[in-house]
């Protein structure tokens, strides 16, 4: 079976996100005010073959834990659908 995993990786909420902070400050230059916070992460799509939903979940989770995110700095969550 073919699955599509859509993974979102975000810096841990308690960590400083210099990039998000700088983007937030600059939105004023295009007259967007009222911005309270910006945090920037990554969106990753993986298409994969797996035996079952559980198997796919396991594979994606391992990929997230071992490579795609750095658990010291980032958290992840993902959705899985049949592709």
């Amino acid at each position: 079976m073919k699955f599509l995993a859509e993974i979102e990786i975000m810096p841990h909420k308690e960590l400083l996100d210099p990039q998000g902070k700088t983007v937030a400050k600059n939105l004023k230059y295009i007259n967007i005010d009222g911005v309270e916070d910006v945090r920037i992460g990554k969106h990753i799509k993986i298409t994969l073959e797996a035996d079952s939903q559980d198997d796919a979940t396991e594979k994606v989770k391992t990929a997230c834990e071992k490579v795609l995110s750095n658990p010291i700095m980032e958290s992840f969550h993902f959705t899985l659908s049949e592709a």
């Binding site: 841990h12 960590l15 210099p18 700088t22």
Partner: protein
């Protein structure tokens, strides 16, 4: 005084890292029982990192005075040395070992950020940085991840901040497998009279916090000791600190602008122990106190406790003290640079540091009692000569057989990660920004940056061969200082000052402490002879590996950062062979000694051997003669003999312009000893035929031993009539070895 329901007991004090004696001493100082916030303040200020309690006794024996020194060692954030033309040079090296082992990218990045902050806090503009790295086995995936992370972290911060990384060194050894060392050095320039002191200056002055908001960074120890630790608060704790070089660049420009506007009375960056350390040190320095309202401190996270704000080590923050009335100038400047700035308190007559939350007094301690040189404890630990020294004494050079195939052996030695080019690493560092770096296009033993608007240049280097120090801490550290001085002299400079980064194991281990004490003695002895005062630096203890139930310290690694001056930048001397048929000399004498050489480590796996032959009088004589040769502008290249021995030196001189060499090694010395021995106080020079007579005369007049080794060729290498092949083949391994390992190319 806000008093918690339950006052902290000895168990809490111990959890915070304090001893029973220290806990008693705190009660004595205060004349009462401290609350948790106060206890946390003492715990961080009396920690090894802030108080130097286990090292200061010996650090004070180092030479700390010199005619060019503008501030005494330890007085300010970094050393300050007069370089003439009404300019001064500020420089310092610092470790970030444990954070880098946890998260290599951010650990190394924030290390670079911290050391630059120390320099521009004094009003100096950083013009160059260097780094000294120690890694374990490069072949393991774990170490490869650490190396890549550290290198890109250093690059990320330095490149963005806009200060060139001009030099450094890397040494691989299994003793660093679990505990890598990341030491970063910054060098800055400041005009006389534009320096700023880390002082509160006068009562009534305003205290401002500038830069990033304060979060719960770096407060693990205290958090887990605090009584009210809940699952929530543990989850709130950032495991690593994230560096923001962009913010620091703004902080740099704004700080220098504020100083130029005469609006700053005192300034201190926030590193370890954040607000606590900066307020207490600035107050104690002036013999004053401060009244601080912590509720005015901008915070990144909600509901922070007073002690969390006090201990936070969030990056890119400064404490600034100004006269009332000048705050408007500061607000305008910081606003121009989009930096947050808040008045958080004022300087008082003292002696107390008073911390409030709004109207509630949450902690009150005498500033003086917290700081090094004041009330902070000073210890002398016991030490004993390490057992392994017996194994070192047992080594004999004669036990090493002369190899049958010298060419193949040489190829193997020269492909050691310790000897090959670190190009893969340094190409990730911007070495040219600020357009001062002379050595990117003209390499020499030390990095050289010219000082715009003058005829001068500054030479910089970091050095330490930990294998030598392991074998003999006293002599090995003398060699580290000597090699640094030699690198500066070979580049055309005059050594003027030293900063040190002392990386050792656990000071409570008497064998480790023995290494520490003897290393300091050796450093002091060598620095006195070279007239290079030690202006400051840092101490990093507890660098060790846990193997089974054994704790193994890293090799003692007292990294020497040295700065030198080229009064005339045109005296800059490069290390490369320039013309075919130029004549090659070895200055100094090769001893029959293979101790601690890369050769016996890489070919024979010898772990215990003597520190290489070294005599400081020979070393000083060598420096004097090299200075004369350079001043007369009669040498074409100068390159010192160090790690890897003479063959490594010759190859490095040959690689730059794809030259080769045809040489005969010294009489009566085994070929492997001649090529790979690391006995000290030697250098390779090259010269044109026309200058040879003058050089010979100068060497003879100065009574320096020398050997005419041979000549520079078009690329072929011949040693004692043995064909060593073409330089281009050697260069291929030299240039690509590290890349091949780290990028898994074969």
């Amino acid at each position: 005084m806000q008093v918690n329901d339950v006052l902290p007991d000895l168990v809490t004090a111990k959890n915070l890292g304090l001893t029973e004696d220290e806990f008693e001493k705190i009660k004595q100082i205060l004349g009462r029982h401290p609350n948790f916030t106060e206890l946390s303040i003492y715990a961080v200020m009396w920690s090894e990192h802030c108080s130097y309690k286990n090292s200061i006794k010996y650090l004070k024996t180092l030479p700390r005075d010199g005619k060019k020194l503008l501030v005494a060692a330890g007085e300010e954030n970094a050393g300050l040395i007069d370089i003439g033309d009404r300019l001064a040079c500020a420089f310092k090296i610092e470790s970030h070992n444990h954070p880098s082992a946890l998260e290599p990218f951010q650990g190394a990045a924030t290390g670079v950020g911290g050391i630059h902050r120390d320099i521009f806090t004094m009003g100096a503009r950083p013009i160059a940085s260097l780094n000294s790295l120690r890694f374990g086995n490069i072949e393991t995936p774990h170490m490869q991840r650490l190396i890549k992370g550290v290198v890109s972290g250093i690059g990320h911060y330095g490149n963005c901040f806009g200060v060139p990384t001009v030099g450094g060194e890397i040494f691989f050894n299994d003793c660093y497998n679990q505990n890598i060392l990341v030491n970063a050095m910054s060098v800055g320039i400041v005009k006389h009279g534009e320096t700023v002191s880390a002082t509160a200056a006068k009562p009534g002055n305003l205290v401002l916090i500038v830069g990033s908001a304060t979060g719960k960074d770096g407060i693990h120890g205290a958090t887990f000791a605090s009584a009210d630790l809940t699952e929530d608060s543990a989850e709130d704790l950032p495991a690593v600190q994230v560096g923001d070089p962009f913010q620091e660049k703004l902080l740099l420009e704004a700080s220098l602008e504020a100083i130029a506007a005469n609006a700053v009375d005192g300034m201190q960056d926030m590193g370890a122990a954040g607000i606590t350390c900066s307020t207490s040190e600035m107050s104690a320095k002036a013999g004053l106190g401060m009244k601080i309202d912590l509720s005015k401190v901008p915070t990144r996270q909600k509901n922070m406790h007073a002690w969390e704000i006090l201990l936070s080590e969030s990056q890119e923050r400064m404490l600034v003290v100004c006269e009332p009335g000048k705050e408007k100038i500061l607000f305008d400047i910081y606003d121009k640079w989009d930096l947050e700035c808040e008045i958080i308190g004022e300087v008082t007559e003292g002696p107390m540091l008073e911390f409030y939350e709004g109207n509630t007094l949450v902690a009150e301690v005498p500033a003086e009692s917290l700081v090094l040189g004041g009330g902070a404890p000073v210890y002398d630990r016991e030490y004993t000569s390490p057992e392994y020294l017996e194994k070192i004494k047992a080594f004999k050079t004669s036990s090493i057989p002369t190899p049958d195939d010298i060419v193949q052996t040489a190829k193997k030695v020269m492909s050691s990660p310790n000897l090959v080019s670190k190009r893969w690493i340094y190409e990730q560092y911007d070495s040219m920004v600020r357009t001062n770096t002379v050595t990117t296009n003209a390499p020499s033993d030390a990095a050289v940056s010219y000082v715009k608007g003058t005829s001068k240049a500054i030479a910089m280097t970091t050095d330490c061969n930990p294998a030598y120090v392991f074998a003999d801490p006293f002599k090995g550290t003398m060699i580290a200082v000597s090699e640094a001085a030699r690198n500066i002299v070979c580049s055309g400079g005059e050594p003027v000052g030293v900063t040190n980064c002392l990386n050792f194991g656990n000071p409570y281990n008497p064998e480790v402490y023995w290494q520490f004490v003897h290393a300091i003695k050796g450093m002091g002895e060598a620095c006195r002879r070279f007239e290079t005062p030690v202006t400051g630096g840092n101490v990093s203890f507890y660098n060790q590996s846990q193997i089974g139930n054994q704790t193994i310290p890293v090799y003692p690694t007292p990294t020497i950062g040295m700065v030198g001056i080229l009064e005339d930048a045109s005296n800059h001397t490069t290390l490369d062979f320039k013309n075919t048929k130029d004549i090659i000399y070895l200055l100094g004498q090769t001893q029959n000694d293979l101790g601690s050489s890369e050769y016996i480590r890489s070919i024979y796996n010898v772990e215990y051997s003597n520190c290489p032959y070294f005599n400081i009088d020979d070393e000083i004589k060598l420096h004097d003669v090299i200075k004369k040769l350079i001043k007369q502008k009669i040498v074409s290249s100068v390159h010192d003999v160090s790690d890897g021995g003479m063959l490594a030196t010759l190859l490095e001189s040959a690689f730059v312009n794809d030259k080769g060499f045809k040489i005969d090694t010294e009489d009566n010395i085994r070929i492997d000893v001649a090529l790979f021995g690391e006995s000290q106080s030697r250098a390779i020079i090259s010269m044109s035929e026309t200058n040879e007579a003058r050089i010979q005369e100068l060497l003879l007049n100065n009574n320096i031993p020398f050997t005419r080794l041979g000549v520079v060729t078009d690329g072929e290498i011949t040693v004692n009539n043995i064909d060593f092949g073409q330089i281009t083949d050697w260069k291929k391994t030299f240039e690509t070895k590290i890349e091949n390992i780290l990028e898994h190319k074969s």
